[in-house]
Amino acid sequence: MYKLNLSEINAFFAKIAQNEKLYIPADNGKGGARYTEWAEGVELSNACNTERSAKDFFFPQTENLVDFKVNGKKIEVIDSREECEDFVVFGVRACDVKSFEILDSVYLTDPIDSYYKNRREHGTVISLACSAPEETCFCRTFGIDATKPAGDARAYIAGDSLYIEALTEKGSALLSSLGIAETDDTAAVYAQIAETEKKLAELPLAALEAKDFTKKQLDAFNAPVWAGLSQTCLGCGSCTFVCPTCQCYDIKDFDTGHGIKRFRCWDSCMYSDFTMMAHGTPRNTQLEKFRQRFMHKLVYYPMNNDGVYGCVGCGRCLKKCPISMNIVKVMKSLGEVTE
């Protein structure tokens, strides 16, 4: 493992930023944290996680796909894609790293989404093990170990030091280029892992169990509890937009006045025109829209992906839903009816 004193962390960031853009979680001045491009003066946040997820790096809220210029009867098609530059994201938590795997399974299987792939290939992820999980955290429910996040490299902050180890060739290439000292003395890291494991076991949602709903998918689909759960849902997109695994998008044309910009943007199954077709929408009521979101994460996605759930337990929806309805409440209610 590489080791450096925390007092040198900004010099470490500076070294990475010399060659490529570096993003780290920084306080947003509003009581939360958000990924910010590192520059002198940008400090690493102590927050458990960022308010917006890390999916933005690979699946931004909007991106231009193609431009059209109309000239008389001629339509010129312009490939507006910009080749992505190499970048590094530091401080991604285990839940968010796991979300990349889920996005990969959607965007990197045939037909491969070249826009997503481009970003993924140019990004290096340095994860950061959790040491102070929050009451809204439940990654353990989905078998994610917050103390051993994946990524190209993973870091630990223990005592007054930053420990960091490479997990992939990409991570190894980056770390070895930085000239940091290596150490065999990793006792502090293991002590911290043990301590964090204790904290994780004591979290209020530690006992939450992910039941296998896939075997009783029709029972789950027809469960009467959906009516109560969705009853006061506002139909806004907060949950979908803060969610690291929500991956649906819409493609729209923007008339610039002298041409068309075709762009894609995040969509939300909570919205009235989600998957709108010529005959209308297949899900007319908020109950159906609401059910779709949770069935996707708890039933449809696992059915198609060897039982892997489409939720990573980051807890953002627990914090951000205007009416405090969330996947944990859904799992509990659904668990009872599919027993």
């Binding site: 506002l234 923007f254 205007p322 405090s324």
Partner: protein, 291 residues
């Protein structure tokens, strides 16, 4: 309070006076209560909650609930009663189908910083219930609030500073529409921003000013009808102080047309939908703009 409210709600249900009760359902923690409709006493006993984290304004749910068969009982905090009145004035709530129970409120806590009162409660405009069929706890007075302090600060900025302030705040908008969907003044059946035929429907900021316009247009649309319930800022996942846009309109209306509080009464015509010979001339805009 909670115990009395549960007892009263159970009584109303069993007597047949109402067939549903709109209140708050306890969550996983003490601070994540969800608005909910109750129909039986056992459910009320087990899950009904009224604590300092019941910020959600239940008035807007009455648009749908009062359209159903039977009578729905609803618990309204003082500020919620203003939205309630305003929705009745706009013919959105069928008053006869609602049994309104005013409940005392001592201010709601901020979910993000649970030691603190929510901003709207720290600058509470009124502890008085302006509508109810019965009251549980006490109804207070209209307060001498400092709620326009920040608006004044913004007014005293140069236009460049103000532009900078709003660009900074609104640039964080993710267009989740939570502010619009929770707003009791936003009750259009099809919002122009959702209507693909409107030319202004969008799910994301399509250019760098898009989300700014969304909020400005929304503030204009609710001007004169916004009661300053503060739900827009409470629900914003990006903590944008959206209520300041509405408060600016309220302050301007107060200054140009005389003190007016939307939702205070049901029968009064608001200043922006009423004509009097004393109305401010349009030129006032230019005069104020130049000052």
């Amino acid at each position: 309070m909670q115990k009395v409210m549960i007892e009263r709600a159970a009584e109303l249900l069993s007597s047949g006076k109402v067939n549903r009760v709109l209140g708050w359902r306890a969550g996983l923690f003490a601070h994540d209560n969800t608005p909910s409709v109750f129909t039986d006493a056992a459910d009320l006993q087990a899950n009904f909650v009224y604590n300092e984290f019941c910020g959600a304004n239940l008035s807007k749910y009455l648009v749908k609930e009062s359209d159903k068969e039977g009578t729905v009982a609803v618990f309204l905090k003082p500020c919620d009663t203003y939205s309630f009145n305003q929705l009745i004035a706009e013919h959105k709530i069928k008053r006869d189908n609602v049994y309104a129970i005013g409940v005392q409120c001592n201010g709601m806590k901020d979910v993000n910083d649970r030691e603190k009162l929510e901003e709207r409660c720290a600058s509470c405009k009124s502890r008085k219930h302006v509508a109810y069929d019965e009251l549980i706890g006490e109804s207070g007075e209209i307060l001498d609030s400092n709620r326009f302090d920040m608006v004044e600060k913004l007014e005293n900025m140069t236009s460049e500073e103000r532009f900078e302030f709003w660009r900074g705040e609104l640039s964080r908008c993710v267009r989740c529409n939570a502010c619009r969907n929770v707003c009791p003044a936003c009750t259009c059946e099809k919002c122009i921003f959702d209507n693909p035929d409107s030319g202004s429907a969008n799910k994301a900021p399509a250019d760098p000013f898009e989300e700014n316009l969304f909020h400005i247009i929304r503030a204009f649309h609710v001007a004169g009808r916004c009661t300053d319930c503060g739900e827009c800022s409470r629900v914003c996942p990006e903590n944008i102080p959206l209520h300041l846009l509405n408060r600016k309109f309220i302050k301007d209306i107060n200054e140009l047309y005389g003190e007016y509080q939307a939702g205070e009464t049901v029968n009064e015509r608001g200043p922006l939908v009423n004509y009097t010979q004393g109305d401010a001339e349009p030129s006032v805009v230019y005069e104020r703009g130049n000052s």
